[in-house]
């Protein structure tokens, strides 16, 4: 955290000064570890084993927060008989279909209390949605994320055993599932000393419960794994057992890497989402608005109002054209049919199926793994528009790139037309970022952008305007959506910039009287309200730009609610109802946060209560109650169908209801728990440009991980071109332990070549004790290599792109690539340039038994490998 979010780290040093214990769990000793009380140097890719060990420690020693678990989690729920745990199927859960390598969630469901879907408006529609949910194409369309903050729909309320003794109760299933995660097993799999694990376990349990809370902080170190989503699930189970969710000083904090990456998932430029985590309509499921909202109709929790949110969105987009008769123009929305994430799109590009591509403030040939494949994709486009501040590598792939040297690409053979349209910086445009704490902060405009540089608001507004003018008198039904669009925003200044405030107001939504709404509960499904993004409703409450509030923190209390605006409804800690006991009283005076005020008859506290203000703690929902009314007074998790925190996830995750330890897709170690080596539902992309390193191969014997440095920013476009940052970390380097340096004859400060089945790159070597080898019980030694990935060939500070080395293998839930765990070989000296590079890498592939990686022109059609086809990777 000190590496990539240093200013956020001030709060860690603040807590430390007040006696907090800081534990840093990371394969490398980083600048965070330098300040931490304890550094746990666990092996790359073994986080679930460590966290599972903590869960077992908590359950075994009864150190969980008893009342919290009984009242607020689904520990008491009883799971159906068909469910078989991975402990009994040697690594697979019940319902696994080997051909499509997907799970059918049916066997994970609760044992129902009342008939399924009874609480839904339209039971047959909900059941139909339920069935179509299992179709593999839908499975791949990333339903999990669509549930987003809503939690997937569950057919009915579970039967419960409050004594938590029932063998099929979630609590007992959890105990059995993690029974094998003993401190010894954890230290064997994670390669750390048992005492280190026990010290962490002791500190975590000592600092949880009524009087104290523990917080977990993570970043892409967890998400960029083939089991990334399950990493975070394990931490949520642990935090829920310890009662740390929804309480001050607790929770799980995601540290996101880009200024508004949280914003770009809330108001998403993502294929599977509409604003507010509404799922993108799926061709198989959602031909009409009723299909679309069928699964959530009448469901408990705020998702019950899905129709209101959707209609408001459609009214915001299509204005008067959207009427009740035409399903509020629901049919205007294009439908997805599966996984259209960026890697699938690049594969489609190489097949020549994509004509045009926009790169808007992103540098995929350095930031994406397997940069070679990305460049092949770009080489097969008709045209490419790049909007950035500096001339980034993704814009000059046709002129200079490793493939130009090796001859796989050549300017004369690349047909892609490239437009580099300069962009405005953060100081030259106004607008909001959504920070990692869900806070929207407004930036005022300082100066005009230079020359032809324009903001992206300008670019897309005027592109839309020109397109609408072109198609003004078209009668083709395909163009209706574009023509029905509400696209008139006040234009400012002589560069005719659309008003960002007006767009924010549209996102906030307006009521029947045209005035800005102040809460999403005001949204109606009769078309009388608009709302570009329901979770942002309230950012323009009372016609004031709440995100632009800048009340100094000195004039505010512990929770600075008058600086910027947090979604939803300015709540700074989500699910903060859980900071009070079932009766509404704070768990302890020290950790008081939100509580029930009997006289006032409403919830109150330091933060905006994440609960309906007047709902009494002893409120019991009448049966047949719907949406938020179905949430009991003792259900803090208002977005979940059953209002409880899910220790066991009967739905919503495509790779299992409970996290379990799998090795990374490319690992040098055998899975110590099961025969099943890696995540069975992991997503591969086949192609000569994306060959995988076989696991446990002695051709690629070292485990490698990628990470960032404080001095540079992700793909380096905004830092390698700046003198002051370039000179702080001037060259691409890899971090290697003295033992590995000795083993391979590497010298500090000299060059080394790293080779994988994708390509070979060169980097200077930094020999350091901060990266340590791990000896497993059977004597094998795991050597680990650290690789910061900021560099590429342009800018002041240059080097090879670390991401060239990595392949693309995706987490099935989120399609995020596994760039935190890969394998490679390392040898002293610089890499060959030109065609010899291809020969070197091909020889490695042959030795490793990997199919040939040779490609035809522009990476398009694979050339028959000179040697035999070789075994295709299992």
């Amino acid at each position: 955290m000190a590496e990539c979010h240093p200013v956020g780290f001030q709060w860690v040093t603040e807590a430390k000064a007040r006696g907090a214990k800081v534990v840093h769990i990371d394969p490398r000793f980083t600048r965070t570890s330098a300040i931490a009380d304890l550094h746990v140097p666990l092996r790359i890719g073994s986080d679930i084993a460590f966290l599972g060990g903590l869960i077992r420690y908590v359950l075994d020693n009864e150190l969980y927060f008893d009342e919290y678990v009984r009242a607020y989690t689904n520990a008491a729920a009883i799971v159906g008989e068909e469910y078989v745990d991975s402990e009994d199927l040697d690594g697979l859960f019940s319902g696994f279909d080997p051909e499509t390598r997907t799970y059918d969630e049916a066997s994970w469901q609760y044992e129902p209390e009342e008939p399924p879907h009874s609480s839904s408006d339209d039971p047959p529609e909900a059941a139909e949605q339920e069935r179509s949910e299992q179709h593999p194409d839908v499975r791949h369309a990333d339903r999990a994320q669509a549930a987003g903050s809503g939690g997937p729909p569950i057919p009915s309320k579970p039967k419960r055993d409050e004594t938590l003794q029932h063998p099929r109760s979630v609590f007992q299933i959890l105990k059995r599932h993690y029974a094998r995660y003993t401190p010894e097993m954890v230290s064997e799999v994670c390669g750390i000393e048992p005492e280190v694990f026990l010290q962490v376990a002791e500190w975590v349990t000592e600092n949880s419960g009524r009087e104290r809370t523990t917080a977990w902080v993570y970043s892409v170190g967890w998400t960029q794994h083939s089991v990334g989503a399950q990493y975070i699930r394990t931490a949520s189970i642990l935090q829920t057992l310890l009662g740390n969710i929804g309480r001050p000083g607790g929770g799980i904090m995601a540290l996101r890497g880009h200024a508004s990456i949280q914003g770009s998932t809330d108001v998403p430029t993502l294929f599977n989402l509409l604003p507010g985590y509404l799922p993108m309509p799926h061709a198989l499921q959602h031909q009409t608005l009723d299909d679309y909202v069928g699964d959530a109709a009448g469901k408990a929790g705020f998702w019950g109002n899905k129709r209101a949110y959707t209609v408001s969105l459609l009214k915001a987009w299509f204005g008067d054209a959207a009427t009740a008769e035409n399903d509020f123009c629901f049919d205007h929305l294009p439908k997805i049919t599966g996984d259209h994430s960026s890697y699938q799109t690049i594969a489609a590009m190489i097949r020549g199926e994509v004509s045009g591509y926009f790169l808007v403030g992103e540098n995929p040939t350095v930031g994406h793994p397997n940069s070679r494949m990305n460049r092949f994709g770009l080489a097969n486009l008709d045209w490419l528009v790049v909007r950035d501040l500096q001339m980034i590598e993704s814009a000059t792939f046709w002129k200079e790139s490793p493939e130009i040297e090796t001859g796989e690409l050549a300017p004369e053979s690349i047909a892609t037309e490239v437009f580099f349209v300069p962009a405005a910086t953060h100081a030259e445009k106004e607008g909001t970022f959504t920070q990692t704490q869900r806070v929207l902060q407004w930036r005022h405009k300082a100066v005009e952008p230079p020359g032809d540089a324009r903001s992206d608001l300008w670019f897309y507004y005027h592109l839309g305007r020109i397109l609408r003018e072109r198609l003004a008198d078209s009668t083709d039904p395909r163009d209706r959506p574009l023509l029905d669009l509400t696209w008139d925003y006040p234009l400012e200044g002589e560069t005719q910039d659309p008003s960002a405030a007006a767009v924010l107001r549209e996102i906030n939504g307006t009521g029947p009287d045209g005035r800005a709404l102040s809460s999403y509960v005001q949204m109606r499904d009769d078309g009388s309200t608009t709302g570009g993004c329901w979770i942002y409703c309230g950012v323009y409450a009372d016609e004031i730009n709440q995100a632009a509030r800048k009340k100094p923190h000195r004039e505010q209390g512990q929770v600075p609610s008058e600086w910027g605006w947090a979604w939803p409804l300015n709540r700074r800690v989500l699910y903060n109802r859980a900071s009070a006991d079932p009766g509404g009283r704070p768990w302890s005076e020290r950790k008081k946060y939100v509580w029930w005020d009997e006289e006032a008859g409403r919830w109150t506290g330091d933060d905006v209560p994440d609960f309906e203000a007047e709902k009494r703690p002893d409120y019991v929902p009448p049966d047949g109650a719907r949406a938020q009314d179905a949430i009991a007074g003792t259900d803090p998790f208002v977005m979940q169908g059953d209002g409880k925190a899910w220790l066991f996830a009967p739905a919503g995750l495509v790779d299992g209801p409970l996290p379990t330890h799998y090795e990374p897709a490319e690992s040098v170690v055998e899975n110590g728990l099961y025969k099943q080596q890696a995540n069975p539902t992991v997503e591969f992309i086949e192609g000569p440009w994306n060959r995988a390193n076989p696991s446990r191969s002695d051709v690629f014997p070292f485990q490698v991980t990628t990470y960032r440095l404080t001095e540079h920013h992700t793909a380096g476009g905004m830092s390698r071109t700046l003198p002051y940052l370039a000179e702080l970390q001037p060259e691409f380097f890899v971090e290697v332990s003295p033992e590995l340096a000795e083993l391979r004859g590497l010298a500090n400060g000299e060059y080394a070549t790293l080779v994988s089945a994708r390509t070979a790159i060169e980097a200077k070597v930094l020999v350091t004790e901060r990266v340590r080898p791990i000896r497993l019980r059977d004597g094998t030694v795991v050597h680990q290599i650290g690789m910061p990935y900021h560099w590429s060939y342009s800018g002041i500070s240059t080097g090879d792109a670390a991401n060239d080395l990595l392949g693309i293998v995706l987490d099935p839930n989120t399609h995020i690539q596994e760039s935190k765990a890969s394998t490679c070989d390392i040898r002293p000296g610089r890499r060959p340039h030109g065609p010899e590079l291809l020969d070197l890498v091909e020889s490695y592939r042959r030795r490793a038994g990997v199919a040939s990686g040779r490609v035809g022109l522009n990476g398009r059609d694979p050339v028959e490998a000179s040697a035999g086809e070789g075994s295709t990777q299992s």
């Binding site: 003295p738 500090n748 350091t768 004790e769 901060r770």
Partner: protein, 343 residues
């Protein structure tokens, strides 16, 4: 960080390998005259930041500054010689001394200004008088001296205002002494270990070296009839220089090591050879024409090489952290042993 059981400094050592710069014992070749190995001070272990210098080496350019030191010294001693011989009646010696003093001083001013980072601002030296700055005090020595010596030399050549010569000669003579030795304070008053440590001896090194140079040159250029005073001064000067240099080189502290090793060592050894030879020749054959010129030249060369040697030794001692850390550690230990103040 670590408590109780650990030793002070807690046994932490640099991660990449053994303590940096574990100097091996270096055998110092005895110089020409005395055979046998001069034992180095036993190698105290010291740590540094990746072996990087702790203080900044001077930014003065070579050969500018050593030449400045040499010419300043030669001019200073010649000016004194000229003034005295003028009073005691040695016209040719006086004339030569004055010319040497004048030429030397003008040239040294030239080198001083050339060495400046911003030569066009050399007059800023006269902005302040700072007793704490040898260069500021030096400027108020150098300006009158070079004015007087220069004028006298000019008058000597052009023959105008003959009466002025004596007055100019006396003024330059008065400033000749400080001119020769202030440069020693200039070097010593820095953090450079091998200069600062010998701040009481350097003035005598430079004084002797000045006399050897001034005397030597005047001896070489003056007819034998009047060159006796120059010869005596050169001989005594060279003697003092050799003794003083010996005192500097053989101090038991580690900071005298740079005078023996590397380029500085070569300079110092050559300087001693020239001075000694020059001294011997001046004593034996100083009265013969050839002997005077050759010994004069040798003495001047010896003096010049000493300046280069001292300059390079200082630079070397600034570049290696060892010469800063070890003496300071010894100083702390001595203070702690004496129990005066603890860290």
């Amino acid at each position: 960080m670590t408590e109780g059981l650990t030793t002070p400094g807690a046994g932490w050592r640099r991660a990449d390998g053994p303590p940096a710069q574990q100097r091996q014992k270096r055998r110092r070749r005895g110089n020409g005259r005395r055979g046998g190995e001069v034992p180095m001070v036993d190698e105290a272990e010291f740590t540094s930041y990746y072996g990087r210098p702790i203080i900044k080496p001077p930014v003065w350019k070579t050969p500018d500054v050593p030449l400045y030191l040499f010419l300043g010294g030669a001019a200073g001693s010649s000016a004194i010689l000229g003034a005295l011989s003028d009073l005691s009646g040695g016209p040719q010696l006086t004339r030569v001394a004055r010319l040497v003093a004048g030429g030397g001083s003008i040239a040294s001013v030239g080198f001083l200004i050339h060495d400046l980072g911003r030569p066009e601002r050399f007059l800023h030296m006269l902005r302040v008088i700072k007793p704490t700055s040898p260069l500021s005090v030096g400027t108020y020595i150098l300006s009158p001296f070079s004015a007087a010596a220069g004028a006298t030399a000019a008058v000597e050549l052009l023959g105008w205002f003959p009466r002025l010569k004596r007055f100019g000669g006396i003024v330059s003579g008065v400033f000749g002494g400080p001119m020769a030795t202030y440069t020693a304070v200039l070097l010593a008053n820095t953090a450079v270990p091998s200069w600062h440590a010998f701040h009481t001896k350097l003035p005598f090194v430079f004084g002797g070296s000045a006399m050897a140079a001034g005397g030597g040159i005047c001896m070489a250029l003056t007819p034998l009839s009047e060159s006796a005073p120059a010869r005596k001064m050169a001989i005594i000067g060279a003697g003092i220089e050799l003794v003083a240099v010996h005192g500097v080189e053989n101090d038991e502290s580690v900071v005298s090591e740079p005078y023996h090793v590397g380029r500085a060592g070569r300079f110092m050894r050559a300087a001693k050879a020239c001075s000694a030879a020059g001294l011997g020749l001046a004593v034996l054959g100083g009265r013969t024409r050839v002997g005077a010129t050759v010994s004069g030249a040798l003495l001047a060369a010896g003096s010049l090489l000493t300046r280069f040697g001292v300059f390079d030794a200082g630079m070397a001692s600034a570049r290696d952290p060892k010469y800063t850390v070890i003496p300071q550690r010894e100083r702390i230990k001595a203070r702690e042993d004496a129990g005066s103040i603890t860290r």
